[in-house]
């Protein structure tokens, strides 16, 4: 079982005990991640794995992972995984869940994977009401290939393919995927969280839990979009990632439940 962290607000540097907290990791994490300092994706992975343990569903869980920096998590997550083609995770998850309805199936996809390459797959999987949970790690940039514009890059954001900042006239508008999915029948739960602050991490973890509870109750498609920091792709220092995210992405993609679970207790 996971331990609950006690978060005490302080302006002092961490003392000797802080190291023990940082060293603790869920037992489903088989090793260190290899992503950049300040990346939000390992935090998202951690709260996802902790949720599986909290719900006691680890040994009936199958992950379906797309292509992005988080693809390297396949090596460190102790979960049965199908690593699938770019954008197609919701389709693969459909095949898995239909053949093994007793399992808990999740996809892990980035914004490039789900909103660029796989927009069709996620929309139709949601509209079919497939009883799977999709996790969207949205950092508004192609991190794995070095910081190019994705469909969720916000206006004004600098990327290597919109170097002066995304301009609507030239590059079009960002797609609020979770809002679109929330509008579809067949969808049981949609929420948008973030991992920029301790508070948002805790709230996002509750969202993931609600999504899996909804899946376990057979209510249909659930999606949790998680805004994750990508200081490298945003050309900011690692410590500034969360602040940049709050000022840019969180203004365009407001956090909270976008389609609350109806039959649950969340």
């Amino acid at each position: 079982m996971t331990r609950e962290l006690e978060l005490v607000p302080t302006d002092r540097p961490p003392g000797g005990d802080a190291r023990k907290v940082a060293d603790f990791r869920p037992s489903l994490m088989l090793g260190e991640h290899s992503l950049c300092p300040g990346c939000g994706e390992p935090v998202a992975l951690r709260i996802l794995l902790e949720t599986l343990q909290d719900l006691g569903i680890v040994q009936r869980t199958i992950g379906v992972v797309g292509h992005g920096c988080y693809g390297s998590f396949v090596r460190i997550m102790d979960v049965d995984v199908l690593q699938c083609l770019h954008g197609r995770a919701p389709s693969c998850a459909t095949g898995i869940k239909r053949m093994r309805p007793d399992t808990a199936v999740f996809t892990m996809q980035g914004d490039g994977d789900m909103v660029n390459e796989g927009l069709q797959e996620v929309i139709h999987t949601a509209a079919r009401g497939e009883n799977v949970t999709a996790i969207l790690l949205n950092n508004g940039v192609f991190g794995d290939t070095g910081g190019q514009q994705t469909a969720t890059t916000v206006l004004g954001q600098r990327t290597k393919t919109s170097i002066e900042g995304r301009d609507a006239a030239q590059h079009g508008h960002p797609i609020p995927l979770a809002d679109i999915v929330a509008s579809l029948d067949g969808v049981a739960y949609v929420a948008r969280g973030a991992v920029g602050t301790a508070g948002s991490v805790a709230r996002t973890k509750r969202m993931i839990r609600t999504a899996f509870e909804s899946q376990l109750a057979g209510e249909g498609f659930s999606l949790v979009e998680i805004l994750t920091m990508c200081p490298t792709g945003w050309f900011v220092g690692a410590p500034q990632g969360a602040e940049y995210m709050a000022e840019s992405m969180e203004q365009v993609y407001p956090l909270g439940d976008l389609r609350p679970r109806v039959s649950g207790t969340s």
Partner: protein
């Protein structure tokens, strides 16, 4: 006067008059297919329609998908659980699926692809593929509906045996012809345990499974990685190329002219050759049953000492590339096929006709000045 009918054991199974697509679908279900996903496209459509009715009744799932790309990836996901899964389409639809077919070959996920082609112009598509990486697809080309029924079950078996996607090369005649068939489950023997199949039970045990084209493994149990894994895949396809060749021929040992054809066209060729034999012509036929692996050694043997090797296929010349690789004497090869499409674009044209094939065989034989005679 009532007379009790004598208790005679009925021959099983009974002969049923079925449309080809229906027979193939029923055979797939007999083979254990429990997942099917497809997008309507003629002449694949009736297979999807029948599956949508029959598969749920058999406890399976059939999904009318929004694209071929989603259909093939669903089948890949279903196959990854160890279920017998299939998809299908033709032409452009199969083209859209190529990325996932390659992926399934490289991450070793079994599935069957029903290519109910509109003609024979997709030989390269099926045997060379349009995906990426070093992979092949076992492709069976039945000559008629009864054989398609048998091939369907064999493909599910081979797919599981080799953990690889397999392809049925069908056509409009196979999809739409109504013929009498005996539907029965065929036993192809034992299969290795599915210890690779994802079911979630090993999650959290430190021995969780992964299906991953790159085969990097877990941090605690590293995999072969792309170099080692892809070498292993290449070696597997080398073995399959050796062991899974299938072909059929007649009169090869007693002919000057050998006609090579596949699929429905081969059935027409067979008929014409019999006719010409009856008239005293020294002629025979050879039919690759597996388009990949191509039965090269069998073709080499069948063409040994033959004066003319005539290749009849309904395309601009695709299988002829494989014939050229293996025929005993490449100079003896003549192409007598060609592009021939029905005006609808959806089926064979006038070249698939016995008198036309006969005329082409005779013309090629007359025009030829054989370079050597049979020893």
């Amino acid at each position: 006067m009532n007379v009790a009918a004598p208790s005679v054991p009925q021959p099983q199974p009974q002969l049923q008059l079925l449309e080809g697509a229906t027979a193939i679908a029923e055979s797939a279900i007999l083979a254990g297919c429990r997942f099917f996903a497809g997008y309507p496209m003629s002449p694949f459509t009736p297979l999807l329609e029948h599956m949508s009715r029959a598969l749920p009744a058999a406890g399976g799932v059939c999904i009318n998908v929004e694209s071929e790309i989603e259909g093939v990836n669903m089948a890949l996901g279903a196959g990854a659980t160890g279920a017998r899964a299939a998809t299908g389409s033709c032409g452009q639809g199969i083209a859209l699926m190529q990325e996932a077919v390659a992926e399934a070959a490289l991450n070793e996920t079994p599935m069957v692809v029903f290519n109910m082609a509109r003609n024979q112009q997709d030989y390269f598509q099926s045997t060379r593929g349009g995906g990426w990486g070093d992979y092949r697809t076992i492709t069976l080309a039945p000559k008629d509906v009864p054989e398609a029924v048998e091939h369907t079950q064999l493909l599910f078996h081979l797919s599981q045996l080799h953990r690889a996607p397999t392809v049925l090369y069908g056509d409009p005649l196979l999809a739409q012809t109504r013929v009498g068939v005996h539907l029965r489950k065929i036993d192809f023997g034992e299969l290795p345990p599915q210890d690779w199949a994802l079911d979630g039970t090993r999650s959290g045990t430190g021995k969780s499974r992964q299906i991953w084209t790159w085969a990097m493994g877990k941090a605690t149990d590293p995999g072969l990685g792309p170099d080692g894994h892809w070498q292993q895949i290449a070696a597997k396809f080398d073995r399959i190329a050796e062991t899974e060749q299938r072909s059929e021929s007649r009169y090869a040992e007693d002919c000057d002219t050998l006609v090579v054809a596949f699929g429905s066209a081969a059935k027409f060729v067979e008929y014409v050759v019999e006719e010409l034999r009856d008239e005293g012509h020294r002629i025979g036929w050879f039919r690759p049953i597996t388009l990949w692996p191509f039965p090269g050694p069998a073709l080499a043997a069948a063409t040994r000492g033959v004066r003319r090797v005539l290749v009849f296929e309904l395309n601009a010349g695709q299988m002829i590339d494989d014939v050229r690789q293996y025929a005993d004497d490449r100079d003896a090869i003549r192409f007598i096929g060609g592009v021939s499409i029905h005006e609808s674009g959806l089926s064979f044209g006038p070249l698939l006709d016995a008198p036309e094939i006969r005329a082409r065989i005779l013309a090629a034989s007359a025009a030829d000045s054989p370079t050597r005679s049979r020893p």
